[in-house]
């Protein structure tokens, strides 16, 4: 018999393990650790949302739903998206409810890419972009955004990366892991490029409710989606979901909004692989969209306070850090200590029991930084900052 290892498909075999997974295993089992390594809210899903899920179960709503998702949910999504992104979609045919944005990403690449076709995206980035493209036999083409340029994705760099094989530009603003928000002027130039070169834009805007506007970062900023620009709706796949702003990660619910032909293509794959998103999650999501706004804003304000705390403490300990406009991550620059991001994170864990994620987990451009998430109780962040200050002082 052939070794089982040889049975694994080549493109899966060559897929690297997530750097986050490696690091997770080092942290597991240590109970003194304050973790700034998470990628989800510390808040539990608001009770009225959980209660809607329970009520749905009590009523016996345990069946499949339409492949696209419950029509009543898609109608609520259409309203919400129009309000937030200033783009309107037809709930009957242009919205697909998925199992998290992760599934939607997988669907969009599988639906749109022929083998060898290229997707341009910006690093540092969410860990699944590269594998999702590779698993769809596409070719990832990365643009390295830089801390010295506030992690702005420059349209000129996008243009330089475009080839005759390019099919998709993938955007993620606010960005995980940097918290960067793309300046509108640059976003407009990228839209113009997409039109000029006839490319599809896939935009993952999962953190768009979590913006920190105003000089003190406390006011809710205004989100601008590339989908709202003239001529963009027809070539954009807008991805959003409930995990971050509504603190519903475990519900696993997201959605894709796109012109009917694209939605239909994604739906074809979704119906054979996933069939539909879980009914109780969909019912909870309806409640979230109808009545969740005050809780979202309450959580955003809490994140804003923690963000300001981390910024202040990093400045005090002399750790240079980009001031993030959104999401719930800090991406401090550790280059001056002469350690790799992995060495820094490992020693911080060993010596001070604080977990952060090495920037290298988010692609080459993440090297030289670590990701510290502030979706953790304020008091815990205070302790973590004291420990980090002691650590970087020792590093000198």
């Amino acid at each position: 018999m052939k070794p089982l290892q040889d049975r694994i498909a080549h493109h899966v075999r060559s897929l690297p393990r997530s750097g986050i997974r490696d690091f997770f295993e080092l942290v597991v089992g240590r109970d003194d650790v304050i973790s700034l390594g998470v990628g989800e809210p510390d808040f539990c899903s608001p009770w009225h949302i959980r209660e809607a899920a329970i009520f749905s179960l009590e009523k016996g709503q345990t069946s499949y739903t339409s492949n696209l998702g419950l029509l009543s949910l898609r109608q609520e999504i259409a309203k919400y998206v129009e309000g937030l992104f200033k783009v309107s979609y037809d709930p009957a045919s242009e919205i697909l409810v998925t199992v998290g944005v992760s599934e939607a990403l997988d669907l969009v690449f599988r639906a749109l890419l022929n083998p060898g076709e290229e997707v341009i995206y910006h690093e540092p980035c969410y860990v699944s972009y590269n594998p999702s493209i590779v698993l769809a036999y596409g070719k990832p083409v990365t643009i390295q955004t830089k801390v010295d340029d506030n992690f702005v994705l420059r349209a000129s760099d996008v243009e330089a990366a475009i080839t005759d094989k390019t099919r998709i530009i993938l955007l993620n603003f606010p960005t995980n892991p940097t918290g960067a928000v793309e300046p509108v002027e640059e976003l407009e130039k990228i839209a113009a490029l997409a039109i000029k070169h006839d490319l599809i834009v896939v935009t993952d805007e999962i953190y768009c409710e979590l913006l920190y506007g105003g000089s003190d970062g406390m006011s809710p900023g205004e989100h601008v989606s590339i989908a709202s620009f003239p001529g963009m709706r027809e070539r954009t796949v807008l991805l959003h979901g409930f995990s971050k702003a509504f603190a519903m990660t475990g519900f696993r619910l997201g959605y894709a909004c796109a012109p009917t032909v694209l939605t239909e293509a994604m739906m074809k794959i979704h119906q054979y692989s996933m069939l539909c998103a879980p009914m109780m999650s969909q019912q909870a999501a309806i409640e979230a969209l109808k009545n969740g706004a005050p809780e979202v804003e309450r959580m955003r304000r809490a994140y804003a306070q923690r963000r300001n705390l981390m910024l202040k403490r990093f400045a005090e300990m002399g750790l240079p850090c980009f001031s993030p406009g959104g999401a719930f991550y800090m991406f401090p620059d550790i280059r001056k200590y002469g350690l790799t991001s992995k060495e820094f994170a490992l020693r911080l864990l060993e010596e001070e029991s604080v977990a952060v994620v090495p920037g290298s987990a988010f692609g080459e451009a993440g090297e030289g930084s670590v990701r510290a998430c502030y979706a953790t109780a304020y008091e815990k962040i205070e302790i973590a900052m004291d420990r980090m200050a002691a650590f970087v002082k020792r590093l000198g």
Partner: protein, 159 residues
Amino acid sequence: MDALLELLQNDARLSTSQLAERLGRSEAEVAAMIADLQGKGAILGYHAVVDPERAGQRHVSALIEVKLTPERDGGFDRLAQRIARFDQVTSCYLMSGGYDLAVLVEGEDLREVARFVSEKLSTLDGVLSTATHFQLKVYKQSGFIAGEATADERLAVSP
């Protein structure tokens, strides 16, 4: 002001310097805001929210429905304020509906509360009737669920 109140309502133990840090203001500014809120009676006070059962306290609480005769000048106010001043009364509200005042009373045992009702409350001129409901169990108090520990069950590192 709203952000300050939100923080204090959630945790009144925060010091002026902690509040200042969270709000991005100076300590002097925060101190002035608090003084203002206290001065105009917007903040009435600060206390720990205690579950007496878990604290091992001898404790009984009751909700007393009180019907009053309103007075020509001032309606229920004078009498309600008089009732509210008793130490045993922890809260006192004018209500719509079938009775006038909801009076929350605490004591060490049933007898103490009963004595308060029969000797103090119902003997007041203007009190027409009382109905006493003893509290049997606390499920939630002042915004806190009783007996619920908060544990972080998230994975320590996730994407």
